[in-house]
Symmetry: C2
Subunit: 149 residues, 2 copies
């Protein structure tokens, strides 16, 4: 598992697309056990005034309504450690693995994923971290309002 992995590359493309749109630059991609992309998406909080369209939720939403079996053995790639909501979504759909770009910006529900038997991989990718660092320095209020109200 490296940052060259196709699923991760798509998640990173999505994060960059979010940045282009002036949004919070977090992207995700859901890949099934056969390597097929089921969905991809990015955080739409600012673009759609959305409280729930985080990158992983956008991705699951874009994948559409699938039977539970479709998620068996799937990997959720995300450029940032998943928050509690997105962690819960990965547990709900019983994905097998979560691969994150980084967790320096935020540590989400990694422990909870591990407790539920979901493999967690951190790529410690500098590009993902850089995207978030740039966003937070340019839009501190849009980030801090999430963190402390």
């Amino acid at each position: 598992m490296s940052s060259d992995d196709a699923g991760f590359k798509v998640a990173l493309e999505e994060a960059k697309q979010g940045a282009k749109e002036g949004g919070i630059p977090i992207g995700a991609c859901l890949v099934n056990k056969d390597g097929k992309i089921l969905g991809r998406g990015h955080n739409m909080r600012l673009q759609k005034n959305s409280a729930t369209l985080h990158a992983e939720i956008s991705t699951l939403e874009n994948a559409g309504r699938l039977p539970a079996s479709a998620y068996q053995g799937a990997t959720m790639y995300t450029t940032l450690s998943p928050c509690n909501m997105c962690t819960g979504a990965c547990i709900l759909y019983k994905v097998s693995r979560v691969v994150m770009g980084e967790n320096k910006t935020l540590v989400g529900g990694e422990d909870f994923l591990t407790q539920r038997g979901i493999e967690v991989v951190n790529l410690k990718n500098a590009e993902c971290e850089g995207l978030m660092k740039k966003f937070i320095s340019e839009h501190p209020d849009d980030w801090l309002v999430l963190m402390r109200g």
Copy 2:
């Protein structure tokens, strides 16, 4: 706290609206500490082919993009015990209380809510249970596909 509580009545109305639309009859309502309704919604899995618009997610989405402070002291009313995704969403936004109609149909992330200091109330409401029983008996496949793939 009883089934006459205004927030719960709205959640139940939402569940019934979902039933009318042929959807999974689960409704929710988010009420802030001053008793103001911030959002309301119902499960849209069938209506929108949505993997993420559970009742609580629809409700948070309909409430729009709010600062974290808006959720302080808030109560999430839902007609059914919240799944892991919706549990995670309540933890993300740090609502103070989750009031559910019933948990006979499904026991979601109640323990996790309690561990995180969120008060959990179960109204054991027969009407909520009846709505789900009717839906599952009439559309067993649409429910079981969620449970076992």
